[in-house]
């Protein structure tokens, strides 16, 4: 018997937690790299047949609405739910002081770093929108809503904080006195500093030192589908529908609820997702409503669906909110000698992505210091929102933009001068590439060259404030860059089985379709690895089959999941060839003849869903025929009625997995070699303050393109979302009452189809990613990098720095001294 299956498993183990170039790529690709239509989800989504959790209706289902605190900081002194309970149509009112609610732990063994997210309903709120008081279940959503308004509460309103710098002052009131009693700076000594070298020395060596600060006000995810979920008990087994992009995380929390529920009894339906962009899915607190639904469902014996309304989706935001203080030292030739950045970070529950992280990852700056102070104020949590790299990317962008403008240098030259890895120069990076088996390519140079050509940079760039257009507006351009990160630090597993009767391949892994078409991408990899036609490979993550893949895919998880599906496919392919040639199908009554007798597995191949002998391709059998007889005949497959044994094949199934550890900490064992570069042009109307973004060009070195249209889609989507965040988006809080003033889509503006000119999409493939075939991720990158382009382009247009995002017309006019 061939040892090939062991080889493929051994190869999988060899590539676990990969630190080097892919040693075993395919020699040729058929589907990988091609433009494929939205073959799995496109028809359902375009025709309105795609179901989302918000659409779920079950027989007997109750609707739940939750009481959310209307104040930024308040305690319930007295609550009377009698009128709500009596309203016709109300079936249950669950109170925060219910004994079961008091004892409940939503998060259980695994807690987020900061904040109090563990109780489903609280009696004290530290933010507007915190779940407090009560959850009401009624026959209709309207009745539940009306019941909430009938709950009478005496509140003790407390002083509150909204600004992180002010809240860090020792004289500021405590934002969360129950837990943090000695001030509002929560993460002292925890993920708060990153440094290398000696910044004092670095500043001393500089020809110039510049200090500045900038601010990013609150902005949020605006997921089209609001948070919602449905809980149904089937006996003691929960059946759940949940809008969540990381479905396996809720499942593992739920396993600790109600005294413990075996994972094998929990079924979660992961329907199509109306996008989350991180957001709620990072907050275990979003499981509080689900717990309430579960508790009430148990008590009344009916399924319960909870929903948030649009305003309630605004309680929480992106983790770039805060005030950044920066000091940078540099030589007259553009070499940066030292950089120091301190971020007063609003409510960051995961302060691992400090302001200096990208400067550490992808420059040769020898002396670096970054500090992230997570300051608790009375707003919602800030979490990764497409994505968590916003603070370090914004910091790097502003630093490089400043240095270039101070020196009057082309910013692309400043970038190349400082490109490197972890404080080392490009020669060190080259040696690392050689050591790890990567091609010796200079990704940043290639990205910049292609971007400059596509953008016509040479004729567009000028010194700040130097170009007035015939239409009276000031033209400006901006450029920024960073590495093309693949930040998945986790593990994923995939299984593949060959269906009986038609021999099609079913991919299996629990996940969530949040729109990036990753499901098609996994099928492309599996098809090329198995040798199947793409139409014969399918994947529906909504069908609950166990295994889990690293999610969300929009967070650059292709490197982990791509490995996992490739491993599974290679192991399965070998199993198919073994099965087709093996005489091992021996029973107590004799053997079945193999489909290809007197042949060894390594003499066989699979192409276009056909199994064939390499030396004589006329000896072939479709995979469908190979598995068909056992499937079609079913229990009669061993029938010898016709005097001969019909063929038989064993079940064909394999699984694979991958782990990737410590991808985004300062001791990241993977120096990042792939880069991205972005270019933006604006026109600034100096009379109205309006900024028109006329075009953007994105260049992303993804290492290896798998799903070309999906990659381009991320470039389009990221550009528009990036411009939207930088130009329009801010959650406005009333300084007097502390409440959100614009929690709706008329007053919180997101970009429309008219808000951005043409978007150029350039994909570079250097093969220097740690994923299979040399790939790295793209899903988070563009939306995170593009926002920082706007202040650079505006400065180039008008010669004035606007250091307060979003850049709204009033800020332009103020900067120009017009108001």
């Amino acid at each position: 018997m061939s040892t090939q299956p062991q080889d493929q498993t051994a190869r999988m183990l060899e590539m676990l937690d990969n630190l080097k170039a892919d040693k075993y790529p395919l020699r040729e690709y058929k589907y990988i790299g091609e433009k494929i239509p939205r073959r799995l989800d496109g028809l359902a989504k375009a025709s309105g047949q795609a179901d989302y959790t918000m659409d779920v209706q079950l027989p007997g289902m109750l609707h739940m609405r939750l009481l959310m605190c209307p104040y930024p900081h308040a305690k319930i002194l007295r609550m009377d739910t009698a009128r709500a309970e009596k309203l016709p149509g109300v079936r249950y009112v669950l109170r925060y002081d219910d004994p079961e609610v008091r004892k409940a732990e939503i998060v259980g063994k695994t807690a987020v770093f900061f904040g109090d997210l563990d109780r489903p309903l609280s009696g004290v709120a530290h933010m507007e929108g915190e779940l407090v008081g009560a959850a009401v279940a009624a026959e209709t959503e309207a009745i539940a809503e009306e019941a909430l308004s009938l709950i009478e509460i005496d509140w003790e309103q407390r002083p509150f904080n909204l600004d992180p710098v002010a809240a860090s002052d020792p004289s500021a009131p405590l934002s969360f006195p129950e837990r943090y009693t000695d001030g509002n700076h929560l993460n002292r000594g925890v993920y708060d500093e990153l440094s290398h070298g000696d910044i004092k020395k670095g500043f001393a060596e500089a020809d110039r030192v510049v200090e500045f600060s900038f601010k990013r006000t609150a902005n949020t995810w605006v997921g089209p589908e609001r948070p919602c979920g449905v809980w149904k008990w089937n006996g003691d087994s929960p059946e759940i529908w949940l809008k969540h992009q990381r479905v396996h995380l809720p499942k593992s929390r739920i396993a600790d609820w109600f005294g413990g529920i075996p994972m094998s009894k929990i079924e979660i339906h992961s329907l199509y997702q109306g996008a989350s962009f991180g957001g709620w899915c990072q907050i275990d607190w979003n499981l509080g409503p689900l717990w309430c639904a579960a508790c009430v469902s148990k008590r009344v014996g009916r399924p319960v669906k909870y929903t948030f309304n649009r305003r309630e989706d605004f309680f929480g935001g992106s983790m770039d909110e805060g005030t950044y203080f920066v000091k940078v030292g540099f030589k007259n030739d553009g070499t940066i000698t030292a950089a120091d950045a301190v971020l007063y970070h609003v409510n960051c529950i995961w302060p691992v992505f400090g302001p200096a992280l990208h400067l550490h990852d992808n420059t040769q700056i020898k002396n670096l210091h970054g500090q992230s102070k997570s300051i608790w104020v009375n707003k919602g949590h800030t979490v990764p929102t497409r994505c968590e790299m916003l603070p370090p990317v914004l910091t790097q962008t502003m630093i490089f933009g400043r240095v270039a403008s101070e020196l009057g240098m082309d910013p692309t030259e400043v970038a190349i001068k400082n490109d490197g890895c972890m404080g080392h120069d490009m020669e060190w990076a080259r040696q690392e590439k050689v050591k790890r088996g990567f091609p010796e390519r200079d990704s940043l140079k290639e990205c910049i060259e292609q971007g400059k050509a596509g953008f016509k940079w040479e004729e567009s760039w000028h010194l700040p404030g130097a170009r007035k257009l015939p239409n009276g507006r000031m033209q400006g351009v901006g450029f920024n860059w960073t590495h093309e990160w693949d930040d998945s630090a986790g593990s994923g597993e995939f299984a593949i089985r060959i269906e009986r009767t038609d021999g099609t391949a079913t991919l299996m892994a629990m996940g969530a379709d949040n729109g990036v078409d990753a499901e098609s991408t996994y099928c492309q990899i599996a098809a090329d690895e198995l040798g199947f036609l793409l139409k014969d490979v399918n994947y529906n993550p909504q069908v609950y089959r166990g295994f889990y893949r690293m999610t969300p895919d929009s967070s650059t998880n292709m490197s982990v999941n791509g490995w996992a599906v490739r491993h599974a496919a290679r192991i399965l392919r070998q199993k198919i060839l073994e099965s087709a040639t093996s005489p091992s199908s021996t029973t107590q009554r004799g053997s079945f003849q193999p489909a290809f007798p007197n042949t060894k597995p390594d003499e066989m191949d699979i192409k276009n869903s056909l199994i064939y002998v390499k030396s004589d391709p006329t000896r072939q059998m479709s995979v469908a025929d190979f598995v068909r007889l056992a499937g079609e005949a079913g229990p009669f497959s061993t029938n010898e009625y016709l005097g001969a044994r019909v063929g038989w094949s064993e079940p064909l199934f394999a699984s694979g997995y991958q782990v990737q550890y410590r991808a985004w900490t300062s001791d990241n064992p993977r120096p990042t070699f792939c880069r991205q570069a972005h270019f933006m042009e604006v026109e600034v109307d100096t009379e109205t303050g309006e900024v028109i973004v006329t075009r953007v060009v994105n260049v992303n070195d993804v290492g290896k393109v798998i799903n070309r249209m999906s990659c381009e889609g991320q470039q389009y989507g990221g550009s528009i979302m990036g411009v939207s965040r930088a130009k329009f988006e801010e959650v406005v809080h009333d300084p007097v009452t502390g409440v959100i003033l614009n929690g709706n889509l008329l007053d919180y503006k997101i970009a429309t189809i008219k808000d951005l000119g043409p978007i150029g999409t350039i994909l570079v493939e250097t093969g220097m990613g740690y994923g299979p075939y040399g790939l790295t991720g793209i899903g988070e990158d563009v939306a995170t990098v593009v926002p920082g382009l706007l202040p650079l382009a505006v400065h180039n247009a008008i010669g004035v720095w606007i250091e307060d995002l979003p850049i709204t017309p009033d800020k332009i006019l103020k900067a120009l001294g017009k108001i």
């Binding site: 939205r38 997702q273 109306g274 389009y716 550009s719 709706n744 429309t752 951005l756």
Partner: protein, 194 residues
């Protein structure tokens, strides 16, 4: 009808008449073929070419009726106040925000939803699939319906006309650049089929 009220009001257009005969004459002349007015709350709708009769509450929006009661869940509620276009349906030939119309106002009207457009094999569907004019898909039905309404009146739109027509549809995943491509492709197929 009390003593003080001698006016007879047309149930279709609200015009008043002094007598029942006058009203009857008006109804036959102006609203012939409309049938008898429905009992309060009863409405007739032709949805995707199929006739339906509903008993609706006065505060039901057209969206709520079609999405929650009839179960055609293609249209979605992204915003809560007519800002996003995700609930768009074609009513009497015009694209409308179904969350901003009361069902009770729609008696006798025709409604086209994304499901009907797809069932009729409109080339927009294939064009959207081929051109990746969707990501999460939540807003996609609204775009398809609005695009269809555009192509109903203009089978050779320019890119500017497509952008203008779709400017009321929000997409958070920001798939905007793909939509004009898909709409033009569908328009070409419609023209070729003529």
């Amino acid at each position: 009808m009390n003593k003080e009220t001698t006016k007879m009001t047309c149930p279709y257009c609200g015009e008043t008449h002094d007598s029942a005969e006058g009203l009857k004459g008006h109804v036959f002349k102006m609203h012939k073929g409309r049938g008898l007015p429905s009992a309060e709350g009863r409405i007739k709708l032709t949805i995707n070419k199929a006739e339906h009769t509903f008993h609706v509450k006065p505060d039901w929006t057209l969206y709520y009726l079609i999405h929650d009661k009839l179960g055609l869940t293609g249209a979605k509620q992204f915003c809560d106040r007519g800002a996003c276009g995700s609930c768009t349906m074609i009513v009497d030939g015009k694209p409308v925000l179904s969350c901003m119309i009361l069902a009770i106002e729609c008696d006798g009207k025709t409604v086209e939803t994304v499901e009907g457009i797809a069932a009729a094999g409109h080339p927009l569907i294939e064009a959207y699939v081929n051109n990746h004019a969707m990501q999460c898909g939540y807003c996609t039905p609204g775009f398809v319906v609005t695009s269809k309404a555009l192509l109903d009146i203009n089978q050779d739109p320019t890119e500017e006309e497509i952008v203008e027509a779709l400017s009321g549809n929000l997409c958070r995943c920001s798939t905007y650049p793909q939509h004009p491509i898909a709409v033009k492709e569908a328009a070409g197929k419609l023209r070729a089929a003529k």
